[in-house]
Structures are given as structure tokens and as C-alpha cells.
């Protein structure tokens, strides 16, 4: 076990916390106004419709109220956030061409290595723009489109992009969708043609290096009929003593008979406000799978939502949230059953420790006419000490007779007996507790590709270190 600890020490936070010297090509001044929006639009050479869209979103942003039901975001002052930071390089498709310091950052995070080992394509965003993008030849030859969002907006698929952009996550939904619509930059566009099954995952990695900045990437994935894709999203940032903001949008269109799995390991630094929106619409016979691990950020609002529109559509959500010192993580999911014979299976785990606040917020809606809907939700929470807080806030809104809805929630602590059992085999109390917590998270790590599962377990061990008073 002592060996194990050294390993844990080796992967300590410093991997994520290295701050590259800020050396950006463009950094817009802090704040949010029409002039700034126009300059972002200019920087990005937007088509006219997009510029107008941005300006309209700014109006909506100014009209909408800050949400009152979640964690406080008083610490976030938009007048101190720079919404656009262009790195000093344009996008490359070979790591060798990426500037040394930026490349080193992604090397430390293991991205090029993972690409070689187990990914079909990678996009790497640094602050507001992608610095690297590459797709495996075989995958490209299957007709799979995986590009940065800016290229997609102008290229062959521009009509498709325009047709779908912010149609699922409409700017009027809430203030931060509107903000995103106004200042978005970067992100990826993926199109998987009919019947194409991508056997290994694509990954986008988002790194926010600039202090006091925001990252607003947009991810749009369209999986056409009968196609199959696994998309992985990773994110991190070094820690600063001022607020940073992440407000990305992810829109997922899963066509008839298609399948999409979307996995996220979120490890933002603990000064980050992570106000993220993700939504999927699932057509007939199609399947959406979410795997979500939330470890980082100061404050999170994150509830991937799914509309089961088509008959026989299904979704599965597996998520874990680990709230440590100084963190207020409000996470969960929403699902709306619309089609007939739809089903949702939800498993969430949450851990609160060292004064952290974890809230699991869920909503299951079954619309009239959604005959044969099935939903099983299970929320488990673990309290590691008595200075933390763990809340479970589920809502079920059922409007059909032909539904089968099950819900279970529980809260508990680490059982003393289990700790004693492990200690009787020689493990220290700290290691025993860490192992039990890893076990608690096991059903989530099992859903992740091996390297990511290992990263998640390391993050848990790291968080559990020194958890004994």
C-alpha cells in the first residue's frame, strides 16, 4: 500500500495545475457588451447570420434573471471575465507543429498518448480555440466528419450546422445558454453518416489556461440513422485565485436506430464556475448513453438532459460527483419521455467530503401519451464526514397511466465494520476508506474506457487522502 501511495503522489494535482505563461495572440478585455460581441464575431470571421445570432443572444442574456434555485454564483462577475482568448497558434493536425509549451501541457494530461493508444480522433482546445485536431484515416474514409466548429460553420456541412445550432439548447432557456450563444468559440462538430459504426472513441479535450477567462465551446454531434459513436470529453484548468468560467453547450442528435455514448471526466480547477448545458434528442429505436464524472470546479450546474422523442428510444445515465473542500457541485440529469415504449435507467452516486456540498438534482417527466414508459432512477449518496452537505432533489412528473416508474434514493456513511475488516488485513484506515469510496464509484468507472477509469480512481484516491481528521 505504501507503494500505491507513491503512485498517488506521482499523479497529484500538479498535472492539472501547471500554469503555462499566458502568451496569447488575442485577449479581449474583460466584460460583456455589444462591442465585445462584434469583435469576437470579427475575430472568428462569422457568417452574417451568426453575428446577428450572437447579438440577439446578448439581448436575451441581458433580459434573463440569474437562476435562483441553485448554488450561489455571486463570486462570478462577468465584468471580470475575458470571453475570448485566442492562443498564439492556429489549429494543427500534427502534435509536432503545436507550440512546445502547449504541447507539453497536453502531453502531461496524456492526450497524445491516449490518441495513439485508443482513440479514433482528437480535438484539443486551448482557451478559446482549437490548437490540434486530427482524425484517423480509416474513420475519415468511413465518411465520419469530425472538425473544429469554425470550419464546420463555413465548410461543406454549413447548412447542417445552421439547421441544428442551438435548436436543442435554445438561448431563451436560461441566462447561460444566452451567454453561450453570444460568446461561444471553439468546440467540435461531428457527423456520423447512416449505418457507420465508429468502433473506437473520438475525444475532445478542453483546457482553459488563461486567468480570469471564460471558455464557451460548442459541441454538436449528429449520429445519422443506424450509426454508432462513442464520444469522450475531458476538461481541466490550472487553479487561480480569481473566478474562471466555463459555459459550454453540447447538442446531440441521435437518429433512428442510432446509438451515442457521451462520456465526460470533468476536472476543472477549484476556482471554476462550470455552468454547462448538455441535451440529447433521441429518435425511434435509438439509444443515448451518458457517463459523467464530476470532480472539479468551484461551483457546477450540470444536468445532461435527454428527450426520448421516438418510440422505443432508450437512455442510460451513469454519473458520479465528488465534492470536496470549497466545492458546491449541483449535478444530475433530466429526462423527458415523449414517444411510446421509451425507457430510462439512471444511476447517480455522490460523495461529499471536507465541507463540500453535493446536490443531486433529477427530473423525470412522462408526457401524456408516452404509453409504456419505463424509468428506473437510483441515487446514492455517501457522507464522508459531518462537515459536508449532501442533498438529493428528485422530481417525478408522471402524466400517463401506462408507465412503470421506480425511484430509489439513499444516503449513508462509510460503514465502520467495512473499515475494520480492511484494517484487519493490514490496510491503513485512510487506504481502507479510499478503497471503499472507489468501490462506491465502481459502477461508473466500469463504464469508462480503461485509462479514464484509472484516472478517475486516481482522482478519488487523491481526494480521499488526508480525509481522516
Amino acid at each position: 500500500m505504501s507503494e500505491e501511495k507513491t503512485i498517488v503522489d506521482d499523479i497529484n494535482r500538479s498535472v492539472y495545475d501547471v500554469i503555462d505563461k499566458e502568451n496569447s495572440a488575442t485577449r479581449l478585455e474583460e466584460g460583456l457588451n455589444e462591442d465585445i460581441i462584434r469583435r469576437i464575431s470579427e475575430e472568428k470571421d462569422d457568417p452574417d447570420w451568426m453575428r446577428e445570432f450572437r447579438l440577439n443572444c446578448l439581448k436575451i442574456y441581458n433580459e434573463l434573471e440569474v437562476p435562483q434555485w441553485g448554488p450561489g454564483i455571486e463570486g462570478l462577475d462577468m465584468s471580470h471575465i475575458s470571453t475570448y482568448v485566442r492562443p498564439k497558434t492556429d489549429m494543427k493536425n500534427s502534435w509536432d507543429d503545436v507550440p512546445e509549451d502547449i504541447k507539453n501541457t497536453f502531453e502531461r494530461l496524456g492526450i497524445p498518448e491516449a490518441e495513439r493508444a485508443s482513440l479514433a480522433g482528437v480535438g484539443a482546445q486551448y482557451d478559446s480555440e482549437l490548437v490540434y485536431h486530427n482524425v484517423m484515416k480509416e474513420v475519415e474514409e468511413q465518411g465520419v466528419v469530425y472538425t473544429d466548429f469554425e470550419s464546420a460553420l463555413k465548410g461543406e456541412y454549413s447548412d447542417m450546422v445552421r439547421e441544428h445550432f442551438m435548436k436543442l439548447l435554445v438561448p431563451t432557456d436560461h441566462k447561460f445558454n444566452a451567454l453561450h450563444g453570444a460568446v461561444w468559440s471553439g468546440g467540435s462538430f461531428v457527423y456520423v453518416p447512416k449505418g457507420v459504426k465508429v468502433s473506437i472513441p473520438l475525444q475532445s479535450y478542453f483546457r482553459l489556461n488563461a486567468k480570469g477567462a471564460g471558455q464557451f465551446e460548442h459541441t454538436l454531434i449528429i449520429v445519422d440513422e443506424g450509426a454508432d459513436l462513442h464520444f469522450i470529453e475531458g476538461c481541466s484548468a490550472p487553479k487561480y485565485n480569481v473566478a474562471n468560467l466555463h459555459s459550454g453547450c453540447v447538442e446531440l442528435f441521435v437518429s433512428k436506430n442510432a446509438k451515442l455514448r457521451y462520456s465526460t471526466i470533468e476536472n476543472w480547477s477549484k476556482n471554476m464556475y462550470n455552468l454547462n448545458s448538455k441535451r440529447a434528442i433521441v429518435e425511434e429505436n435509438a439509444r443515448m448513453e451518458w457517463v459523467s464524472g464530476s470532480f472539479g470546479s468551484h461551483t457546477s450546474y450540470l444536468y445532461p438532459s435527454t428527450i426520448l422523442k421516438g418510440d422505443n428510444s432508450t437512455m442510460e445515465y451513469t454519473g458520479i460527483t465528488f465534492a470536496g473542500e470549497g466545492q458546491n457541485l449541483d449535478t444530475g440529469m433530466k429526462v423527458m419521455h415523449v414517444g411510446k415504449n421509451t425507457s430510462s435507467v439512471v444511476n447517480t452516486k455522490s460523495i461529499a467530503k471536507s465541507g463540500g456540498v453535493s446536490t443531486t438534482r433529477t427530473s423525470v417527466q412522462v408526457m401524456p401519451g408516452a404509453k409504456g414508459a419505463k424509468s428506473v432512477v437510483s441515487c446514492e449518496s455517501l457522507m464522508v464526514d459531518n462537515i459536508s452537505r449532501s442533498d438529493t432533489i428528485p422530481v417525478m412528473d408522471i402524466r400517463t397511466d401506462d408507465a412503470d416508474i421506480g425511484h430509489e434514493a439513499s444516503i449513508g456513511s462509510i460503514p465502520d465494520d467495512a473499515v475494520f475488516y480492511m484494517m484487519s488485513r493490514g490496510m491503513s484506515e485512510e487506504d481502507a476508506r479510499a478503497l471503499i469510496v472507489s468501490g462506491f464509484a465502481d459502477n461508473v468507472s466500469r463504464e469508462l474506457p480503461m485509462e479514464y477509469a484509472a484516472e478517475m480512481n486516481n482522482l478519488i484516491r487523491l481526494e480521499m487522502k488526508g480525509s481522516i481528521g
Binding site: 500500500m1 505504501s2 507503494e3 500505491e4 460503514p415 465502520d416 465494520d417 467495512a418 475494520f420 475488516y421 480492511m422 484494517m423 484487519s424 488485513r425 493490514g426 490496510m427 491503513s428 484506515e429 487506504d431 481502507a432 478503497l435 471503499i436 472507489s438 468501490g439 462506491f440 464509484a441 465502481d442 459502477n443
Partner: protein, 247 residues
């Protein structure tokens, strides 16, 4: 007598303010097999849990020396690392933690670090002795295990961790004849491979049939009321504990 490894002197233990052990003495030598017998509620399991250092068991007086050191000064994990082991009567279920992960972490803690490959090989070898399918290594720790499977998993840990002294707390209770035989095989294998000492806590005698026993201690009402060699087991088999229980 061989070299002494465990010495319990005048041990008094309270659980939830109730005095359970009232001055118990016990000495075990290197490689010896001792049996603790006694009626229900005599304090047999209290002795095991006190030796292992469970927090609810409050030692009010007395002394325990293990390998020359004061055991009561050590936390549970230190005791294990010193070479003490207990097979639990009701091993707890820990969801999400695999049996292999658990044993490997324990081996690491005890200073026997193995590669995954070597670990799996070693475990498979020992599982053969116990007639266990190696697939059990991938199962969640004790979750959904039958009584017999749990006990086998405990003995597997005994064989993998190779302690100097193993306490078997009612390891034979609730098992059918075949399972008792398999468990005895495992215990014998431990004795042969490691040469460690055994403290077998039991209220039946089935597990003892195929084992060499050095000494039998009868515990009633919190202390040792009779001691002897193997013949004491046969005597109790015949006439029970009545004569040791105070009216």
C-alpha cells in the same frame, strides 16, 4: 513448548458497558494449534475481536503481548502487518470492491507486492486447494456470496496473506459437510505452507476432525475454565458444556 508468540494475561473486556471477558489467560507458541471452545455467549468471539482491535471492545485491564510487543498499543492494521489474521464469522459485504483488488491491496500492505500477473497466478493456485473458481476474484467483495463462499474467501485470504497467527472465528458454523472439509483442507494447507499458529474459535468440533490440535481451552463466563489436550474435545462432544456453566 515452542517459542511463545501470543500471551494474553488477565484480560478483561467490556462491550457496550457489559463485562464479557473477566480475566482470561492464554499462551500460544509458534506454529501451534489451539482451540477455544465454549457455550454461546461465553466470550469466544469477543476474544477474537479484541485481539484484532475492534473499537467497541474496550479492554479494561490485562495485557496482550504478540511477538514480544504490546498488541493493545497497535491499531488494527498494524496488528495485521505484524502477522495477525482473523477469519471473520460474518465477513462484511463491500459493494464495488473486487475480491482480487481487496486481497492485492492487503498483500501490498503486508509488504508482499506482486505484479497483477503473479498475483493472479498465486491466487489461482490457492483457489485450487479451496475448490474455488478463479472467476470469484472478479466478484465484488462478499457481495451475494453464500455462507460457504464467504468462508472460502476468508481462507483464501489466509493462504495469500500468510500470517504468523490466524484466528478462525466460527469458521465452520453454518457450513455443510463438504464445505467444512474444503475449509479444513485450506487450513491444513496454511499450516503446511506457512507453519503459522492457529487459534480456532468454535462451538462445534467438525472442523477439528482432520487437524492436529495442541491444546484446547474451554471458555465459560469470560474466562478459561478448563484446559487440556485433544481428548477434551471428545469429552465435550460427548457430554457438552453443562458442567462448565455455573448454575
Amino acid at each position: 513448548m515452542s517459542q511463545e508468540i501470543l500471551k494474553v494475561e488477565n484480560l478483561c473486556v467490556k462491550v457496550l458497558d457489559k463485562e464479557i471477558l473477566k480475566g482470561l489467560d492464554l499462551v500460544i507458541g509458534e506454529g501451534e494449534t489451539h482451540v477455544i471452545m465454549g457455550p454461546n455467549g461465553a466470550g469466544k468471539s469477543t476474544l477474537g475481536n479484541t485481539l484484532m482491535g475492534k473499537s467497541e471492545y474496550e479492554v479494561t485491564s490485562g495485557k496482550i503481548t504478540f511477538l514480544g510487543e504490546d498488541l493493545l498499543e497497535m491499531k488494527t492494521d498494524e496488528r495485521a502487518r505484524k502477522g495477525l489474521f482473523m477469519s471473520f464469522q460474518n465477513p462484511i459485504e463491500v459493494p464495488g470492491v473486487r475480491l482480487s483488488e481487496f486481497i492485492r491491496n492487503s498483500c501490498d500492505a503486508l509488504g508482499n507486492k506482486m505484479s497483477l500477473w503473479n498475483f493472479k497466478k498465486a491466487a489461482a493456485e490457492q483457489m485450487k486447494v479451496l475448490n474455488m473458481d478463479p472467476k470469484y476474484l472478479d466478484r465484488e467483495l462478499n457481495v451475494g456470496f453464500s455462507g460457504g463462499e464467504k468462508k472460502k474467501a476468508e481462507i483464501l485470504q489466509l493462504l495469500m496473506l500468510k500470517p504468523r497467527l490466524a484466528i478462525l472465528d466460527e469458521t465452520d458454523s453454518g457450513l455443510d459437510v463438504d464445505a467444512v472439509r474444503t475449509v479444513s483442507e485450506g487450513v491444513k494447507a496454511y499450516h503446511e505452507q506457512v507453519g503459522g499458529a492457529l487459534l480456532i474459535i468454535t462451538h462445534s468440533t467438525r472442523i477439528l476432525e482432520s487437524l492436529k490440535v495442541d491444546k484446547v481451552h474451554v471458555v465459560a463466563d469470560g474466562h478459561v475454565v478448563a484446559e487440556g489436550d485433544r481428548s477434551l474435545v471428545d469429552e465435550i462432544n460427548e457430554s457438552g458444556f453443562e458442567k462448565y456453566i455455573k448454575a
